[in-house]
């Protein structure tokens, strides 16, 4: 238990605040003639057209903070202010009240770095992802962010309710009714106990989501893992997941844990460290990497059955088939809507969700499992999407290239696609992680359900295509056709040994098929290896030299956001 010594904040630090020089803020000049006045009034009312926005000039140097937020015209600015900024601050407070109360939240905030450092600036995460968006695209994408924020708050408040660290070491009722598992174990495994037990992934909130919201936090955990003497070159995701435990920053919220080898052997290694520090009963539920073999499929299903037995032993609560069936039906509803979305994205220019909202929402929803907010969000987005299709609204009108993003994305720059659209008109239609769990699960009888659940688990992020074998990694080509994409953003996770091994094969295929592909190097959560500015430079170089194109917004070509969240 950490000892808390409260000291008054050092207010002299306030002097260090560097606010922008008021002279650097460009005030609109008075119009010189009638045409200029008309243009000014038009820009005020509707916002500047794409190409005249100069979004890069809104940033403060290095920090990525805004001198002022973007003026999107009266309607969209007021929508952003009322329905995104105000609404989400309000909903965050409401969620905290609903899921455990402000005292519990404050205790968690004071105890855990990943909460305090990361989640307070969550509205900036919205800003970065939604830059430049207008109309229905702004609305639909923002609802995705709202859902992810709600589930995040729900998870960490559930952790805190049960956390012995926040309750003087006591193992309360919530602790006895919580199940811990690796974030790469799909939440659906625990559906049969979901009426009495709460499953909470260990690293999803302290690690995965933090990287997107505030990438400063995760570096503490990567460095902590290396401080044990571990080498720095393995997957930084696994390093960070272990580092949370090394820094004693994991809540003690459950009496047992379920782990997995997802996505690869790196997770097994991090689990060994977690097992040591957790010191609670553990069930390892590995999934086969080369999963096409039907015999392997049966083996994987058996692993799930064994896991269920383990949970029964640990909880004393019986497996509830009816509950599993109901929850899976609800999850299947989400999948069916996802297919509808893909259909619109693939065949029309009316898809109202931008690349980053699509990617993050989908991976979060399909990995975490059923939650009421996903259904609420899908209902809202369904209405917006129907409106876009009916009225034939071109949601991303400056699209020059339809991009498919393949392999594992840089978590510290998941909003690169927002930048790429604003700067170059590169519209990311779909990404690999979205396409992973491309199935519904049969609920007619248990045998079929378990076999489908095994398949679902094998199709997890970073597994199905990334390390799932040659046939699957090359599903890229059929998905390019399916989504009518003419360009590939090929993520190059420098510390993923699996994906590094197939780089040459991809290069050969790109040449053979005459496909424009940009390799985007990165180190998953760690921005120190390849900076965001470097990623932008690589895209800029390709677009200007190979594609011979000019930027839509030149102010976004180069800017320093090295210290930004």
């Amino acid at each position: 238990m950490a000892k808390i010594n409260f000291k008054k904040p050092d207010l002299s630090k306030l002097k260090e605040i560097k606010l922008p020089d008021p002279r650097s803020i460009k005030l609109p000049t008075l119009p010189k003639n009638k045409d200029e006045a008309k243009k000014l009034a038009h820009d005020f009312w509707y916002g500047k057209p794409h190409g005249e926005r100069r979004l890069g000039e809104l940033y403060m140097d290095k920090t990525g903070l805004y001198k002022h937020r973007e003026w999107r015209g009266v309607k969209d600015t007021l929508y952003y202010f009322n329905m995104i900024w105000l609404y989400n601050y309000g909903q965050m407070v409401a969620d905290i009240m609903k899921f455990g109360g402000p005292v519990l939240f404050a205790k968690g905030l004071w105890r855990y770095r990943w909460l305090g450092q990361t989640y307070l600036p969550v509205l900036h995460w919205f800003d970065r992802g939604l830059e430049g968006l207008r109309g229905e695209a702004l609305r639909a994408s923002a609802w995705h962010y709202r859902a992810m924020t709600c589930v995040t708050i729900n998870q960490f408040m559930n952790m805190f309710k049960a956390d012995a660290n926040l309750h003087n070491g006591a193992h309360n009722d919530a602790w006895h009714h919580s199940i811990a598992h690796k974030e790469t174990v799909w939440g659906g495994i625990f559906y049969p106990w979901s009426d009495k037990y709460t499953n909470i992934p260990m690293e999803m909130i302290p690690y995965f989501v933090t990287c997107h919201v505030n990438n400063h936090t995760v570096m503490n955990y990567i460095d902590a893992a290396q401080s044990l003497g571990l080498p720095g070159d393995p997957c930084p995701m696994c390093q960070a997941e272990a580092g949370i435990f090394v820094l004693d920053d994991m809540p003690d919220y459950a009496p047992f844990v379920v782990t997995s080898n997802e996505a690869c052997d790196g997770s097994v290694a991090s689990t060994a460290i977690q097992d040591w520090f957790l010191n609670v009963p553990l069930f390892a539920m590995p999934q086969p990497m080369q999963f096409d073999d039907p015999l392997v499929q049966e083996h994987c299903a058996e692993e799930i059955r064994e896991c269920w037995k383990f949970i029964e032993e640990q909880t004393g609560a019986p497996f509830n088939w009816e509950l599993l069936r109901q929850k899976l039906e609800r999850q299947n509803e989400l999948q069916r809507f996802e297919w509808e979305k893909w259909d619109v994205a693939a065949k029309t220019s009316h898809y109202p969700i931008n690349g980053v909202a699509q990617a993050l929402y989908r991976i979060y929803q399909s990995q975490y499992g059923d939650h009421y907010i996903w259904h609420d969000t899908d209902r809202r987005v369904s209405k917006i999407m129907a409106k876009c299709v009916e009225k034939k609204i071109d949601t991303f009108p400056k699209t020059r290239h339809r991009v498919i993003a393949w392999s594992c994305a840089p978590l510290y720059y998941s909003n690169w696609c927002t930048w790429a659209y604003n700067c170059w008109g590169l519209n990311t239609i779909i990404n690999m992680d979205s396409l992973m769990f491309d199935m519904t699960i049969r609920t007619d009888k248990l045998e079929n359900t378990v076999m489908d659940m095994a398949r679902y688990h094998e199709w997890a992020p970073m597994r199905r295509m990334a390390v799932g074998g040659m046939n699957h990694i090359f599903e890229l080509w059929e998905n390019m056709e399916r989504f009518h994409c003419d360009m590939v953003m090929m993520y190059d996770q420098l510390q993923c040994k699996g994906m590094q091994g197939v780089k040459g094969l991809f290069e050969d295929e790109f040449r053979k098929r005459n496909i424009h592909a940009i390799w985007m190097p990165h180190a998953l959560p760690d921005k120190r290896t390849v900076s965001r500015a470097e990623i932008r430079r690589i895209i800029n170089d390709y677009m200007s030299t190979v594609m011979q194109e000019t930027p839509l917004d030149p102010s976004l070509l180069e800017f320093d956001d090295d210290m930004s969240w």
Binding site: Y66, R69, W110, R113, L123, D249
Partner: protein
């Protein structure tokens, strides 16, 4: 007559005044919040004040050393 009229409207006026004041306060609050939003004052506060303060706190926290824990199987 004038006196009577002013007397009868005084309750209404008071209510109107209260609503007027309430409206003015809410409008001022709304405008202030809009200024916070537009000039990213929430971001600046969090970036320059809250995060450094919390980071300092987390850096100073006493933590148990997990390496002291023996590695065994439960």
């Amino acid at each position: 007559m004038f006196h009577q009229r002013s007397k009868t409207c005084s309750v209404g006026c008071k209510v109107l005044k209260v609503f007027g004041k309430l409206f003015a306060v809410l409008a001022a609050l709304y405008a202030a919040l809009f200024a916070v939003f537009y000039f990213d004052l929430d971001g600046k506060l969090l970036y320059y004040v809250v995060e450094p303060f919390l980071v300092k706190h987390y850096d100073k926290m006493e933590r148990k050393n997990p390496l002291d824990q023996p590695y065994d199987i439960k």
